[in-house]
Symmetry: C2
Subunit: 380 residues, 2 copies
């Protein structure tokens, strides 16, 4: 198996892109990644996306995006795993290069959520839960998240403010991020005073709706000297249903993907200099920090509230604002995370730069923790 490195990254700003079509957004990020890599000569293309079918009436994005890039001919596929799509597509891209099937792969994620009315977006997002068992009850994604959030508060005696601090920290880190949707601070008072979405989750604890695209170029490591190498990429699943989990407050897929990734990379949590975690809600950020092994179960909220995850602290987390403040264009999110880790490791993070980072980890989830992708990247 060949070692794989990241040769280039490209992002669009996350916002409501009323003037750009799905393929325009994708092309903007992809062409930036080509520029960054110094080549557009790809022999493989993976497109990650979740909601183009329900929101744009569009399928077969692989060939569509190849065409949009002037790359018709190239082998292309769409990979979907709800909001873990980007991380899972990255995993497939790494296999393509590691196996020798491809020598230069573009993995690009795109999502255009503002095309849908709010109720359409909510219904489409609920497609990541079982339509015959969970979604048909009418529960929303945020409604699902409220269950572990409430239990976390009860079991560990955490207050609403303790958990909400995850959102406050993500917003702090977004300041200075050029591609963040909400690059400003949000005080704890403001977060907990925002409208209740699904008790006990306040609106400002949830990632918003946004459009964006992110892309990374993958090549064999020996061809990209001085770059960032893929130390590990893992995907794991868990029961599709909260009721089927061993413990509602432990995302087994995160545990499993992380454990295998540390083992593959030959690293421990102590070696990790920064992480990007899936904080689509504040409770998911807290649980992810715990299930990745950075805080004991039940201690994640106080670890974050204590300031350990801001830039410059012990474990810089979501250094460009995370899903909450950078934004969460679902199918692209995992690739924003990976690209952001690359920029940090290469000292190209601008106003968001942290010091001396050699190892970074990105974690994304699809459904309510039914799929998890973990990527560990290492600077040469």
């Amino acid at each position: 198996m060949r070692r794989v490195a990241i040769a280039g990254v490209g992002f669009t700003k996350v916002k409501e892109h009323w003037g750009l079509a799905l393929k325009d957004l994708f092309a903007e990020a992809a062409l930036k990644a080509f520029d960054d890599a110094g080549t557009g000569e790809i022999d493989g293309l993976y497109v990650s996306n979740m909601l183009a079918a329900p929101l744009q009436g569009q399928l077969q994005l692989g060939a569509l995006m190849a065409n949009a890039l002037g790359k018709s001919g190239v082998p292309a596929a769409t990979v979907e795993a709800a909001s873990a799509s980007g991380g899972v597509a990255f995993h497939e891209g790494v296999k393509a290069v590691a196996s020798g099937f491809c020598d230069c792969v573009l993995v690009g994620g795109v999502e255009k959520m503002s095309d849908g009315l709010p109720e359409q977006v909510s219904a489409a997002m609920a497609m990541a839960e079982d339509q015959e068992y969970t979604s048909y009850t009418g529960v929303t994604k945020i409604g699902m998240n409220a269950l572990p959030h409430r239990l976390y508060m009860e079991r560990f005696g955490a207050s609403a403010e303790d958990v909400a601090m995850f959102a406050v920290r993500s917003h702090e880190n977004a300041v200075g991020s050029p591609h963040a949707q909400y690059p400003f601070k949000a005080s704890l008072d403001r977060v907990v005073a925002s409208p209740m979405q699904a008790d006990p989750i306040h609106m400002l604890e949830c990632a918003g709706v946004g459009d964006g695209a992110a892309a990374v170029m993958l090549m064999p490591a020996e061809k990209v000297k001085g770059s960032v190498e893929v130390a590990a990429t893992t995907v794991a699943t868990d029961s599709y249903y909260l009721s089927g989990r061993k413990d509602i407050l432990t995302y087994g897929a995160v545990n499993d993907a992380a454990e295998r990734a540390y083992k593959l990379a030959g690293l421990t949590t102590a070696d990790v200099d920064l992480v990007e975690v899936h904080d689509d809600t504040s409770i998911n950020g807290v649980l992810s920090i715990e299930d990745l092994g950075f805080a004991e179960k039940g201690k994640g909220a106080s670890y974050v509230a204590g300031g350990n995850t801001i830039r410059g602290a012990e474990l810089p987390t979501n250094t460009f604002g995370g899903l909450k403040a950078r934004g969460n264009p679902l199918g692209a999110t995992g690739l924003y995370q990976i690209g952001e880790v690359v920029l940090q490791l290469q000292g190209r993070a601008g106003d968001c730069q942290i010091e001396e980072a050699k190892v970074g980890l990105a974690q994304s989830m699809g459904g309510l923790g039914s799929t998890c992708a973990v990527t560990i990247l290492r600077r040469d």
Copy 2:
């Protein structure tokens, strides 16, 4: 790169499965593939599907199907490339085993089309064309196919009957196929007397709407002695638009994928003992035979009409009935094709068995030829 073999296959019958949910259908095929392989110990799962989002309101089929199989935990992803989804997912599964990421992968495709009203199915199938350029005009998939069909007749002087013979041949071959949707003969008179769908295409020249699932198990070749090996798997794309093609009557993606596949396998068309081609319409069957190199351009219709593609003839084609008569559950179709080739090469094709087959080829297309997957399988 490790050599990869097929350790087991499983199909459901293609029909209107009113009593089974999407995951029931998938599980039936997958469990048959486990039985056939003598193991269900998978460490990777690829699900191919096209229309679950528009027709079932369901996404994230990877974790859903892992759960349905009692395999929660396993890395899983959904791969989509319209009706080439099965072939493209197979390609990804082979990479996973070839690279060493996985030791036993299940690639399963599923589609449940009868859940949709006819107009919903037509609209959903049109998502494989560009919604902003082609689909919004209201053209259907069959309407698109009528363009090359008409041009073929004009340029090469072919009659409606010449092209329609592809459907007649597929129906002949379906007789005796245990999993075919329409396992009976259809006379030429009946085909050309059937209602016009989109001039010059008659209803009985089109694959119907059906539900089904097909699955294959992949393992390193050294662990599956006496089995069928993957000699080559390729994916190619072409312009998303007929107007962007060099020639409307040549599917460049088929040409390209086939050429690379022959080269990878070290074989020529003369070595191929049977083929499964993408005859979702009769004209696509004809053009596929030509673009794979089995007949000269413009001679495909007469080659087929002349009887060269029935079981027992020079080039047994669509030996279980093809998309037309076996049925075309879109996301599963490519895996039916691959599984059928395996059964032929292993002498397990029952009443559909041909003689002395060592090498077989399966070809599937997504969109109107904008994606093509070619698989060449070889018996040890």
